[in-house]
Amino acid sequence: MTLLDFARGPGLQWSLVILVVGIIWRLLGALMITARRDLAKPRPHSRLRDGVGVIASRSLPAHVFEKRIRFQHVSGYAWHIGLFVTVLFFGPHIQFFESILGFGWPNLPNGVVVFAGAVTIALLIALFIRRMTNPVQKLISNFDDYFSMIMVILPLVTGILAFAHIGARYETLLALHLLSIEAMFVWFPFGKLMHTAMSFPARFQAGSGFGRRGVKA
């Protein structure tokens, strides 16, 4: 079995198993801890509307706070969008998804996707350095924060290397690209990448909790 065979076969399968089981374990494990019913008489509210509202609103600019956090917001939007463009609109990626899902969608030109990937890498490296140097972020960061960023940067870097055929045989670069993605899948449930899943219940409970008090959170 070659490295590529491993990456395409058992590596991918097992990393996906760990990803899915890990997400469910961590998500349900937290959600299944009991919480007492709130006995305080609520103001008129809609739990669903308030909860879903905050799921949406916390992705938007933050009103009066915005001028103090604009850099974090803009950089955050930028690299997340860059990552989604790279993952979802690169032709070979779409072919891969099509082989699993049975349907595909139009791709963006390779140049656009590579540019998005390169910008995303640059932003993530800049944010990595900022995390090491900004006093607030430096103080509150732990291994997870840095390692998770590396886990996201590596698939982007190996992807561009594989696309450009730089540094090794294409098959080797492709295998490294796949393995870096699989490493990210394996790490996902254990680190902060889990916020992708956890942010939904967290935002929902913020919205519904404050909504009971008549506060639009």
Binding site: G29, F65, V136, G207, G209, V215
Partner: protein, 443 residues
């Protein structure tokens, strides 16, 4: 409307002298075990989700008035409960078997170090809750930290002294039933009748030691509004104190006892509603926490005096006349009345009804900047310098409105403003909402 300057000066001086710490006789091991036990008990599903979701972005720092005033990274809200988060990961998280080998145990020295961050540099204002991109309720997490520290006997000496006073003798700042009765008698001589200890009443009106000692005009103003509306109300000499030091310090027994006293008295006199005076944390304690703390739905409604007065005005039971001296005022939203309680519009409506023009600070309502001394913080002598810096942030916002005076609906905020103003020579009048409204009751 004016504050008794002699009483205020005496009060301020008293705050400068911290009480001697009391040795509670707990061993270090007992302290740690108690903190752990409290953390275990308080981390429910909601807390678990919050503790599991932080991405360490640090945006919460930008909402904290202590960080804004100093740029000291230690005041980053998510850092203020870092020990709790680690405890969660190591002991409670569904992945604790994975995290345990890499996660340090909770240590007593660490909790002692965090006392300053949890009590002196956090007012629990919850502004950070509004900025977090993940929706984490950071102020609740810091509240759990306070509860853990309280059970470990790590409450600052000032709060601990107040906590003991409230739980041992049902008084605060030396104000108990005799002092309230004396005030009622004094006011009666002045022609202001305050009903005390009526057997049956529709409304149980609360007050606070701070009102009795510093702001009796606020109590008189509330009485005028209730009397004008023809409400059958009473004060209770045994359950008049709305302030809840247990909520502030984190001490469960004090918190529950103070709540129980009011709830039992309201039931005993058949009150349909309890009206909380100008005290943000007291409103939070009774309106939002008491039912859960006592494990029973309350058989009466709880109102802040601002929202109760607004309801009486809206129902036509009290009419306000436009003031002959209209002012441009700015309303400071007390955190626990507004952001934690949803009382935003009633105070503004009342001021407008009284003919004043309200000009908001840039950050207002849910995003309002804290006065800097809420949640009992103004009592902690060691934090005075930091509080003054935080006050300057607020002062800058208030000055930027160009308003002639500041109105607020919380005596705690008012005291902090008065202290900050006295320290810095700020001469902006700081007014009580209920007093401002009562001045304009139509005959």
């Amino acid at each position: 409307m004016s504050v008794d300057q002699a009483a205020f000066a005496e009060f301020r001086e008293a705050l400068k002298a911290p009480p001697t710490p009391v040795d509670d006789g707990l061993s270090d091991a007992e302290r740690l075990a108690r903190a752990r036990q409290t953390f275990f008990a308080r981390v429910d599903r909601r807390a678990a989700v919050d503790l599991d979701t932080c991405i360490h972005c640090g945006m919460c720092a930008e909402a904290c008035h202590f960080y804004m005033a100093t740029e000291d990274e230690r005041y980053t809200p998510t850092y203020k409960f870092a020990p709790l988060r680690r405890f969660y990961r190591r002991e409670v998280s569904p992945l604790r078997w994975f995290f345990k080998p890499f996660t340090r145990k909770l240590r007593l020295a660490e909790l002692q170090d965090w006392q300053e961050l949890v009590y002196e540099s956090c007012t629990g204002c919850g502004r950070c809750d509004m900025i977090c991109p993940m929706g984490i309720n950071l102020s609740t997490m810091i509240g759990i930290m306070r509860q853990g520290l309280a059970s470990a006997g790590l409450v600052p000496a000032e709060l601990r002294a107040l906590q003991s006073e409230q739980s041992d003798s049902n008084s605060l700042f030396g104000v108990g039933a005799p002092e309230l009765t004396a005030l009622v008698d004094r006011l009666r001589e002045q022609g202001v009748g305050l009903p005390l200890d009526r057997d049956r009443a529709d409304v149980l009106m609360l007050t606070t030691a701070v009102e009795v000692r510093l702001f009796p005009e606020s109590l008189k103003a509330a009485a005028r509004i209730l009397d004008k509306a023809g409400v059958n109300w009473t004060l209770s000499s045994t359950a008049f104190e709305a302030a809840n030091i247990g909520l502030i310090s984190g001490d469960r027994d004090t918190r529950r006892a103070a709540m129980r006293r009011i709830v039992d008295q309201a039931k005993a006199c058949g009150a349909q509603c309890v009206v909380v005076p100008e005290s943000g944390h007291a409103y939070q304690a009774l309106r939002w926490e008491a039912a859960n703390e006592l494990g029973e739905e309350l058989p009466f409604d709880v109102y802040a005096i601002a929202e109760y007065a607004a309801e009486l005005v809206n129902d036509g039971k009290v009419k306000l006349k436009a003031t002959a001296d209209p002012k441009t005022l700015t309303y400071h939203d007390p955190c626990r009345l507004g952001r934690h309680g949803g009382v935003y519009e009633a105070p503004r409506e009342l001021l407008a009804e009284a003919g004043h023009h309200v000009r908001d600070t840039e950050a207002n309502r849910r995003e309002n900047v804290c006065c800097g001394g809420g949640c009992g913080e103004y009592t902690i002598s060691h934090g005075a310098a930091l509080r003054q810096k935080a006050f300057e942030v607020k002062r800058h916002e208030l000055d930027a409105t160009g308003a002639e005076a500041v109105v607020t609906g919380c005596a705690n905020c008012r005291i902090n403003f008065l202290i900050g103003a006295a320290n810095s020579g700020w001469d902006k009048p700081i007014l009580s909402l209920v007093e401002t409204v009562a001045e304009n009751i139509a005959d």
